[in-house]
């Protein structure tokens, strides 16, 4: 049997709130920079890998060979949900403040799926394989949040 040590129960232990803020500004490099530039311009981009697959979000190096990937190609704007999870009670940090779905979305022309959220209203509107399209934020700055969410494709 493993040895067991019970934590002792001391009395009158203090505690205090502790807030850590990381005000980071990160350089992007040319590949991620191009992806974020695209978001600002309402264009979705992937990189073409050595085997011809299009990877979104764009990978800087080939996932198989490790070579630099430099060819950025336009994908989307529509795509297909490959898997999803329904959040009944959003966390204050989540992108949406009402029930929503996390989803992996394979954009048209892409071979891999990207993580984002789907504003579908109700869980009944969600299914694997459904078509979605991006909803863009009005004010965009070149960040993942420029893409506010995906929504079920109309029509």
């Amino acid at each position: 049997m493993p040895l067991v040590t019970e934590p002792t129960r001391a009395v009158q232990v203090l505690s205090a709130p502790l807030v850590i803020e990381y005000p980071f500004k990160r350089t992007t490099g040319p590949v991620v920079g191009a992806f974020l530039t695209g978001l600002r311009e309402r264009i979705l981009l992937g990189t073409r890998a050595s085997d011809g697959r299009v990877i979104v979000p764009p990978a800087e190096s080939d996932p198989v060979t490790g070579d630099d990937l430099t060819e950025l190609v336009e994908v989307g704007p529509g795509g297909e949900v490959t898997t999803w999870a329904w959040v009944h009670h959003p966390h204050p940090k989540h992108p949406l403040d009402r029930p929503f779905a996390w989803a992996l979305v394979r954009l048209d022309g892409a071979d891999t799926a990207m993580l984002h959220v789907v504003d579908a209203g109700t869980v009944d509107a969600m299914r694997t394989g459904m078509r979605v399209e991006p909803r863009w934020r009005d004010e965009r700055e070149g960040a993942i949040g420029d893409l506010a969410c995906f929504t079920p494709e109309q029509g």
């Binding site: 493993p2 898997t83 993580l115 949040g145």
Partner: protein, 359 residues
């Protein structure tokens, strides 16, 4: 030539939702005392000390340096730290022992996840440009994986509930477990989803806890331990950071690590899998090729207690304990890190009766 290295001692604290009466040093000290005391050793007998933890858990920079006070690192000791589960610290210690300069090592890890909002803290390990800013919590990401597994026809919510029920029932016999109960799987399925398709029972508890392992090489192992748990194979592998680049319905990294660690070279009496979410046990059973002859997670696994950065080392310690007390002769321990089983470590442990494996 590979040096024979064994787990010769294992100790852990009780795992609880929140240790609020002690700091990490106070949590660690008694466990280190236990793990060394059981083999009649002190820090003077230890050649190398390696720990696993992450500063983000409790929000304290270089917290591992402070935690070192708990082992008595003065005069200066040979020491290292990994920003990973203690299972990876054990791997580093194993490599160090292979170099032949030392014969003994202490590995420990410390979890104080209760200080913060763990599912959100864990988002900081994701790609900082495209995923981190969305704050996709660890439960939501696991739910994406569970849905993919269900859609692929590889599992059902009922299968997952069976894992939950069996794990928590097994935990009734584990005195350090945090979550233990006996409820039928069918009853669990009537509850609401937490993050669909996951229900609360599919998710691990958030746990504070500490674990420590002592390793020894060659004769030093037999001198201190009647029945050392020899590490016959150990390997770890990692998958890409973007979930979309991976097949979430299987664990290729576990499969590869298992092959390299020689999991299939003999029968397995016991397996301790670090599967924080129920569906992940199903993925890991498949990746490790386990069948009904192997007892899986008799401790209750990570579903019974999931101290971050510690639960993986606990899996190795649990298998080693079965070998120490003779209730198993060969077992496999698995540890994971990262979202949706991104990184996986596989460790095969054997008793001395394993057919004169020692040369």
């Amino acid at each position: 030539m590979k040096r024979d290295v064994a787990v010769i001692s294992f100790a852990q604290s009780a795992h609880v939702r929140a240790v609020d009466s002690e700091n990490e040093v106070e949590m660690l000290m008694p466990v280190v005392g236990d793990v060394l005391g059981a083999i009649d050793m002190t820090m003077d007998d230890i050649g190398f000390t390696c720990s696993g933890s992450t500063d983000y858990l409790a929000g304290q920079a270089f917290s591992f340096v402070m935690i070192l006070d708990g082992v008595g690192p003065w005069p200066p000791i040979q020491e290292s730290h990994v920003e990973m589960d203690g299972a990876w610290a054990l791997y580093e210690a194993w490599v160090k022992l292979q170099l032949g300069e030392i014969d003994t090592a202490l590995v420990y890890c410390c979890a104080r996840a209760s200080a913060g909002d763990l599912p959100m803290v864990l988002t900081r390990q994701l790609d900082p440009y495209t995923a981190g800013p969305l704050w996709p919590d660890s439960i939501s990401l696991a739910a994406l994986q569970a849905r993919a597994l269900i859609d692929a026809g590889k599992a059902t919510e009922a299968d997952m509930a069976e894992v939950a029920a069996r794990s928590r029932r097994a935990a009734l016999d584990n005195p350090v477990a945090q979550l233990a109960w006996d409820r039928p799987a069918g009853e669990l399925l009537t509850e609401d989803h937490l993050v669909a398709p996951l229900r609360r029972h599919d998710c691990p508890p958030i746990s504070d806890g500490v674990a420590a392992v002592a390793l020894a090489a060659g004769d030093a192992a037999g001198d201190r331990c009647r029945r050392p748990a020899w590490i016959s194979g150990i390997d770890h592998r990692v998958e890409p950071i973007h979930l979309g680049l991976r097949d979430l319905t299987e664990s290729r990294s576990t499969r590869l690590a298992a092959e390299r660690a020689g999991v299939h070279d003999g029968p397995l009496d016991v397996a301790e899998l670090h599967a924080p979410f129920t569906h992940q046990e199903l993925i890991l059973r498949d990746a490790l090729g386990l069948d009904a002859t192997t007892a899986v997670n008799p401790s209750g696994g990570a579903l019974a207690a999931n101290p971050m950065m510690t639960a993986g080392l606990v899996r190795i310690g649990e298998v080693a304990s079965h070998i120490h007390d003779g209730t198993a002769n060969r077992g496999v321990a698995h540890a994971t890190s990262g979202p949706c089983l991104q990184q996986n470590l596989v460790c095969v442990l054997e008793g001395d009766g394993a057919g004169g494996r020692r040369r």
